[in-house]
Symmetry: C2
Subunit: 205 residues, 2 copies
């Protein structure tokens, strides 16, 4: 049960430390993940693995060598998307005023959730089976959000009496909203509304 979270990947022999892949292997692996991301978003996690292999231009054997089970592949795709989402936060912060960056990031968050709605069952299984994954990922997301919010507060473009967890909480409504046709539009409106609320009462109004 004891676990030493400080040690680095190199020191842990069992995970993530594996030697660099051969060039062709790396190439194929990347393509598989890329194709899988699209396929899962389009057809849900039950998308045909054979089809994914075909579209990536590799044999089904190759897919299974890289990802022994469907869940492995789903997990990798999920991690990659969360990382993309967090990276976008930094990127937006560089190229926009803080409040705009925050708003755009939240819109991206909506898009991200949108692709995950079909996957809910399977993701839930994955996340209950592998709770490390969950805390890992939600930690990253809230960290990214925190930076955006704090920058916007510091800059005076949104009100000072809120923090990241308030905003995340407000975004929570997106999850629970019914799965209707207009879910996406509704969510976008919610983000706009939220931003108006955040901007109102800012120092510089």
């Amino acid at each position: 049960m004891a676990y030493e979270p400080q040690e680095t990947a190199e020191q842990r022999p069992e995970a993530a430390a594996q030697k660099p892949l051969r060039a062709d292997a790396q190439r194929n692996r990347d393509r598989l993940v890329e194709v899988a991301a699209v396929a899962f978003a389009q057809n849900g996690v039950d998308a045909s693995l054979e089809e994914i292999a075909r579209q990536a231009g590799v044999g089904i054997g190759t897919l299974y060598r890289h990802f022994p089970t469907r869940e492995h592949l789903v997990e990798i795709v999920y991690r990659r998307e969360v990382e993309g989402l967090c990276a976008a936060a930094d990127d937006l912060a560089l190229h926009h005023p803080p409040d705009v960056a925050l708003e755009q990031w939240m819109q991206r968050f909506v898009d991200y959730i949108a692709t995950k709605r079909g996957l809910s069952t399977s993701l839930r299984i994955l996340l209950t089976t592998n709770s490390t994954l969950f805390s890992d990922m939600s930690g990253r997301v809230s960290l990214a959000l925190r930076r955006l919010v704090e920058a916007a507060v510091a800059d005076g473009s949104i009100r000072g009496d809120v923090d990241a967890s308030d905003v995340l909480h407000a975004l929570g409504g997106i999850y629970s909203a019914p799965d209707t046709k207009d879910w996406r539009d509704r969510s976008r409106r919610l983000v706009k509304l939220l931003m108006d609320g955040l901007r109102f009462g800012a120092k510089g109004r």
Copy 2:
């Protein structure tokens, strides 16, 4: 969300009220459930449905007509087994002194849990998806146990300062015990131990 638990099956048009099956259909359905119970216990819930159909002497199409998905079949089997377990309580109560009836029933409970250990993942999914099923079934079990315990207490063959929930709680250890080879023996010993504790301090000691 509102739900009216008092209404009978006949009054609810959508469920369980369906007209009696044709004789051959009923026969086949029963055989399928019976075979499936054995197959699931032996090979887990991933047992081949084609094999089940074959062993029941029907075509795969027949199986799918009766049970549109694997989960349907698993649910029916599960319900049937819980009902069998509860019925056994009444039966044992008729043919044995109360304390013996209780002990034997607990041993049967161990057997029942034993068959469910392989199914845990799939059952968990089923039970989280369909929480009615869960409360339904655990309600029945604790009711059956309550009758046994109360009879034994009334009769003076076990001590009077316990109730059904105490006993159920004590049995809880069975679940969490590690899944070793000797799990069953260990659990049987646990039941014997528990019974000794219950008999000790009874009026008639």
